[in-house]
């Protein structure tokens, strides 16, 4: 019964936040903090007491650490089916942590309609947790679409419009919504296609993951359906030709929105690929792998180059996300245990470092009222702590050893080298570009001649505590990633099995 509560707590907490607004404007903040703290505590407790040897895998019936199943819509064989394995637990842990952070970082920034803001924030997080737990394809789609609406409100109502007036926050929010909604519908068509293909061969109408894993599919059908899923995930990840919503949404979103977007929402796509995209269509995925890796490389280079050219600091970080997610895509489709484990670390590390960078941007904006790098410069001497902290996260973002990002990227590249050396070589070049854009960001913002005189307000206790916590976690992930690796080992091994079987079949067919 703990799993449905994990999903329900944010939803209930959000409603309470809304109702609490009429009493006081700080009460919703505390309620939201309490809600996310509870989620975090529950997931920590689950982590501590589980052993996570159970996970689904290729060639056998899926097994789970924890499972919850209840009939929902009988007509279509749809169940409220939630289950937890190591991968979903780590993702929920990240969600809980970033949830707490996004409440904390809005403490000063959001002063209007506080209750409604936290309602939206909590509902996004609830939807995301649902995505990470859902095992019924209908339920998965349900949560997948549901988290869009509060995110839309978050950007449209509390966002910032660009200074040049070219993109307003409402346009950015709408663009985000339309991209994800349209691609989501394509996924729904693919889900239904899969369900009916399974119905024709087995005579059972079901949306259940375990049963659909055994669906017998014609190769052409499998490939088409796989593409349907891939497009939805590719928009969210984002993969390069479909990424153009991301910079706009990030630049316009409030800090908490950016933290959630970069930290968690992008990870739902990677999670979707690992949980559904590959296991449901292993053969088609194996066939598609070279293209996907090509797209990943393209994303790494393209994202890095565009990041370099940005003058808006949030857009810059948004493009670095595109670049980092390219590594994730390569790792997923390489199909080796090492690279897949690297993907998990990379997701967690990028979640932490991107969230931290966006929070820092928010803090800079609170002090300078601009995000334009051309108007910054020389801030090192005018600000306490902040530049140093930012330097650390920029270094993490470029993959400095000792941080989690290094472990993630290194494992991905090492694991991929065996199967696709060329891809690995080019992707490694992306690391050089990463150092260029990270250092350029620091250089433009904090060094050079100062644009104005006078010291600015340094980091407060709340802000510094958040940052130190994140630094600690990122270092911990960098020097001792073993507990995380142990947790996700079984899940990643399962994915690896699916792909390994498919790759060997593909080889023998040639």
């Amino acid at each position: 019964m703990i799993l449905p509560w994990l999903v329900l707590i944010p939803f209930i907490g959000g409603l309470l936040c809304w109702l609490a607004e009429r009493h006081s404007s700080t009460l919703p903040r505390w309620l939201a903090l309490l809600t996310m703290g509870l989620v975090l505590l529950i997931s920590l407790w689950l982590w501590q007491q589980g052993d996570f040897q159970l996970a689904p895998g290729g060639g056998r019936d899926p097994t789970w650490e924890l499972e919850f199943k209840h009939v929902w819509i009988e007509r279509f064989g749809i169940n409220l089916h939630l289950a937890l394995d190591g991968l979903s637990l780590l993702m929920i842990l990240l969600t809980g942590l970033l949830g707490v952070l996004s409440v904390l970082c809005s403490w000063q920034e959001i002063q209007q309609r506080v209750g409604f803001f936290h309602l939206n924030l909590m509902w996004i997080l609830g939807g995301v947790i649902g995505v990470f737990l859902a095992l019924d394809l209908f339920l998965f789609f349900f949560f997948w679409e549901m988290m869009l609406v509060p995110m839309y409100f978050l950007i449209a109502l509390w966002g910032h419009s660009a200074a040049d007036g070219k993109t307003s926050r409402i346009n950015a929010a709408t663009k985000f919504f339309i991209y994800t909604q349209a691609s989501g519908l394509i996924m729904l068509v693919a889900i239904l296609g899969l369900v009916f293909a399974n119905f024709h061969s087995s005579g059972v109408l079901t949306f259940d993951y375990a049963l659909l894993l055994q669906a017998k599919l014609d190769p052409a059908v499998e490939y088409t359906l796989m593409l349907g899923f891939f497009i939805a995930f590719a928009v969210k990840l984002p993969v390069v030709p479909l990424h153009s919503w991301l910079p706009d949404a990030h630049a316009q979103a409030p800090t908490a929105g950016s933290v959630d977007l970069a930290g968690i929402l992008l990870k739902t796509a990677a999670y979707g690929l690992l949980r559904f995209g590959i296991p449901l269509f292993p053969n088609a995925s194996a066939e598609f792998a070279p293209i996907a890796m090509g797209l990943g490389v393209l994303g790494i280079i393209y994202g890095a180059l565009l990041a370099f050219a940005q003058t808006d600091i949030k857009r810059l970080i948004a493009y670095t996300s595109v670049s980092h997610m390219g590594f994730v895509l390569i790792g997923i489709y390489s199909g080796t245990q090492l690279a897949l484990q690297g993907v998990v670390i990379q997701m967690l590390a990028h979640g932490l470092s991107a969230a931290a960078l966006f929070i820092l941007c928010g803090q800079l904006y609170e002090r300078l009222h601009t995000r334009d790098l051309r108007l910054m410069g020389g801030l090192w001497g005018r600000l306490n702590y902040l530049p140093g902290v930012m330097l650390f996260f920029a270094a993490a973002s470029l993959g400095l050893p000792g941080t989690g990002n290094f472990v993630g990227e290194f494992l991905i590249l090492l694991g991929t080298f065996k199967v696709a050396p060329l891809v690995t070589v080019i992707a490694t070049g992306g690391l050089v570009l990463a150092s260029v854009y990270s250092l350029i960001m620091i250089q433009r913002a904090f060094y050079g001649p100062a644009k104005a005189e006078g010291a600015l307000r340094g980091l407060g206790g709340r802000e510094l505590a958040m940052m130190l916590g994140l630094i600690g976690l990122l270092l911990l992930l960098g020097v001792y990633p073993q507990p995380v690796l142990d947790t996700s080992a079984a899940s990643m091994h399962g994915v690896q099995q699916w792909l390994a079987i498919a790759f060997s079949q593909l080889l023998s067919a040639r």
């Binding site: 409604f116 209908f138 679409e145 549901m146 409402i170 929010a173 909604q181 068509v189």
Partner: protein, 488 residues
């Protein structure tokens, strides 16, 4: 054919509704009273709704060659009665309860006209014969002209009424001509007989095809499908808000139900040429409806265009016409009905009591959330439901339509549906975000403070709650619709 007690029981909903209309008319002749007409109509419609229970006991039953009362008919009768009831309560609030405030003209006839139109709808959904189809359609349409032009001293309302009448009459002419052509070939006017007579011929003759096409034109006009949609935005805008709600719900549901029955019983519809025609109409409706809605700054017009698109989606199920199609139409119509009633309900309450023009410009809704949070929540749920986002009934409807499309492998239509939905999201979101924006200084209209405690408000909250509950737990609805299938 002798009429027995059973036949009368089967016809009870129709009889009660008609009797109520007569009673209300006599009541008006005796003493004009707004409350009296309203109470009489509501009691009558509720009785009609209750009389569906005994009618279900004797169903399915043929009542003369014209009508058949089966579970399908009963289901749609219930929908029409509920929609009419909702529109009546909205109209009561809209016209104004006290004399001297609100609508300046005679208020009582609105109920009479709506009851008559509802009776037409009831005939239409139980029609199994082209003659009863025509009678039902006319009985539904003629009072509607009066309803649309009910605020006749308002230029827009009168214009809308006239426009609707002229175009509707042209539609009826098409319908009659089509029927004549069909009769010329088949020699019968009954749906089932047309089906059996034409069944041996592998390819229906040109006369039949032309006849069906002409009938389709007439019905497409009523359903405002592209290219017969031109009246829709103007009429929606001009008609008083509760009337527009009636037009969008009860009237369209009845017409679609009879279209579905005709297509299911007469295989002449299955000819490839006609299927092609329907596909083109569906794609055009989805795309044009959504694209034109993008440009609207008037909420009623926007809903008009969106209804064009929604009936385009419904055509997908009609074209599939196999598997889950009948069920999908039922589910979709229920969700659509709830949603549109909710949306027009909010517009009505905002324009309550009547004061010359409806509150339908989008800017009048700016910042509504900060003044009337619950009313805004209702409209937000309705917009999400129209866009087909999870947690609302609209999602279940759209899910069903896509399911049917996938099952029948109608990839082109599905493509149009996906594109149309993506475009649709844009304007539904625009409405939604307007509700939450910062308040402007000037404001003209607002719902009364105690809107939630009146009949119209309570009805609206119930509709919103239902739209949410059905979105989360649709199983009861699916069971109901499954039992209301067509038996051939």
């Amino acid at each position: 054919m002798d009429l027995t007690l059973h036949h009368f029981i089967a016809l009870l909903p129709l009889l009660v509704t008609s009797a109520t209309a007569v009673l209300v008319m006599l009541g008006i002749a005796w003493r004009r009273s707004h409350t009296q007409s309203f109470v009489l109509s509501v009691i009558g419609l509720n009785l009609a709704l209750l009389s569906l229970l005994p009618a279900l006991q004797v169903a399915p039953l043929q009542v003369t060659t014209l009508l058949v009362v089966d579970r399908f008919a009963c289901f749609y009768m219930a929908l029409i009665l509920v929609a009419t009831l909702a529109c009546l309560t909205l109209a009561h609030a809209y016209l104004g309860e006290k004399q001297g405030k609100g609508y300046p003209g005679n208020r009582e006839e609105l109920y009479l006209l709506m009851l008559l139109a509802a009776a037409g709808g009831l005939v239409l959904v139980s029609a199994q014969h082209l003659a009863s189809l025509f009678i039902g359609l006319e009985l539904l349409s003629l009072p509607t002209y009066g309803l649309v032009a009910y605020a006749f001293f308002n230029k827009r309302s009168l214009e809308a009424g006239l426009k609707y009448m002229v175009l509707s009459a042209a539609g009826s002419a098409f319908l009659l001509f089509g029927m004549a052509l069909l009769y010329a070939d088949a020699g019968s006017l009954s749906f089932a007989a047309i089906g059996t007579i034409l069944a041996p011929a592998a390819q229906p003759g040109p006369l039949v095809q032309l006849g069906m096409a002409l009938m389709l034109v007439a019905l497409a006009f009523k359903l405002s499908l592209v290219p017969f949609h031109l009246w829709t935005p103007d009429v929606y805008e001009g008609a008083p808000a509760p009337v527009a709600a009636f037009l969008a719900t009860a009237s369209k549901v009845a017409v679609f139900a009879v279209l579905l029955r005709l297509f299911q019983l007469s295989p002449a519809a299955a000819s490839p040429a006609l299927q092609g025609l329907l596909t083109v109409i569906a794609v055009a409706s989805i795309l044009f409806g959504n694209l034109l809605a993008l440009l609207q700054s008037n909420l009623k017009r926007l809903l008009g265009y969106s209804s064009i698109a929604h009936f385009g989606y419904l055509l997908v199920a009609l074209i599939a016409s196999e598997g889950l199609a009948v069920e999908a139409v039922g589910v979709y119509l229920v969700t659509y009905l709830l949603t549109i009633l909710g949306a027009f309900g909010v517009v009505t309450l905002m324009s309550t009591p009547y004061s010359g023009r409806d509150c339908d410009a989008l800017y009048e809704y700016r910042g509504l959330f900060w003044r009337r949070p619950y009313l805004t929540a209702v409209l937000t749920v309705m917009m999400l439901s129209l866009a087909g986002i999870p947690l609302t009934a609209g999602f279940i409807g759209k899910f069903y339509i896509i399911t049917v499309g996938v099952q029948a492998e109608l990839w082109w239509l599905l493509g149009a549906l996906v594109i149309g939905s993506a475009i649709g999201v844009f304007y539904y979101l625009r409405v939604m975000v307007t509700l939450f924006m910062v308040e402007p200084n000037l404001r003209r209209h607002d719902a009364p403070f105690n809107w939630g405690q009146r009949a119209g408000g309570i009805m609206l909250l119930l509709v919103a709650l239902l739209a949410f509950v059905l979105g989360v737990y649709p199983q009861p609805l699916l069971d109901l619709v499954l039992n209301a299938g067509l038996v051939q």
